[in-house]
Amino acid sequence: MMPSRDGDYGRGYLMYTPDGRLLQVEYASEAVKYGSPVVAIRGKDFAVMVARTKEPDPLLDSVEKIHMIDENIGAAGAGFTGDIHLLIDQARVETQRHRLVFEEPMDVKSVVNHLGKFMYEFTRYGGVRPLGAALIVVGSDIVGKHLYTLDPRGLILSGKAMAIGRNSEDATEVLRADYKPDLTIKDAIDLAMKALSKAEESSSPVEVGIAYGTTFRKMGLEEANKFADAPQ
């Protein structure tokens, strides 16, 4: 086998390079940068996320980008679709397991902790491939409204406005410039759309996920704007 640029550290088994890096995990993070972007914003009594579905094809039905996890939680990923679906499925099973035990919806932080641990495990063993996916999780629970991101390292971040996927740095720049703590739902959707458009020029249909009250709801942009006028 021809030695690669990084010796053999970048191939096969998950091992440290002599300077203390895990290249397989870094490559997984690279894969996320090819995924279509997702932008999310948390306000006082709500949290929203926006993402574009794939370019419409007359031969294909549309593919969903924002996924329901449970009545109160939703998530959208960037990266390999299969890896995203594995995470979505993990989260769905875990929320239902929680309902079986407690007869209550699961809190968002516990779901995210579970997913973080799940992703982290793939960075600890040889012979497995770290998941090439990042996730934005938005939800509502008895504590309040939440916004989290997860990356292939298993890193969990909680925040007020975040983006993942292609050109997420550009989207984050827009969020950093225009975010205000007293945003209304309408403001938040507009700002998220502005940030999303900065990251990706596209005319594909937009999906919006809104955590409001005790539920998480998924809708199109038009419906979301209507919802923002009279939230209920």
């Binding site: 035990v101 209550e104 809190d107 932080k109 516990s110 008895i142």
Partner: protein, 197 residues
Amino acid sequence: MTTIVALKCVDGVVLASDRRATKGGMIGSKDAKKIYPIDEKKAVAIAGQLSDANYLINLIKAEAKLISFDRGFPLTVKEVAKMLSNLQYSGMRSYAPYIAEMLVAGIDETGSQVFEADVSGAVTEEDYASSGSGSPMAYGVLEATYHVGISTKEGAEIAAKAVKSAMERDPGSGNGIQVLTITKDGSVLTDIGGVQQ
């Protein structure tokens, strides 16, 4: 044996118990502890096999602590009751039941709550509940005096009276009363009668 009661009040909850532990026909202990705090805002009163109840409570206390570290806020009263009853249900289903009935009471975001969890793993939410051999007598007092909207101060008096009545007529209950009041300001444990006084 035993008499325990738990009441839901507007500003918190009240749990009360007698202090007698029996060994067959003999009094095994005159200052048995039957009310156990789970955290600052929740407590469980127990009736039945002391060893089983202690095992379950230790397990739930550890579990509750781990979960609240993980997610950053404590268990709700219902979650504590459900966790207890899940253990009891699996015990019953595997022909090795935990011989313990428990009253779970406390306050959380949704207010004050009382749950009853029995040997079969059934959980019910109640305004007031009693368990143990003295419960028929205690219920007599509770039915006559409890009403929705009482304060913990009134609740503590009613709970003590209910346990006292049971102690008068139930040979399995006696040796003083312990009352635990939980409000948003914290919890207060009061002893009435018994070997300590």
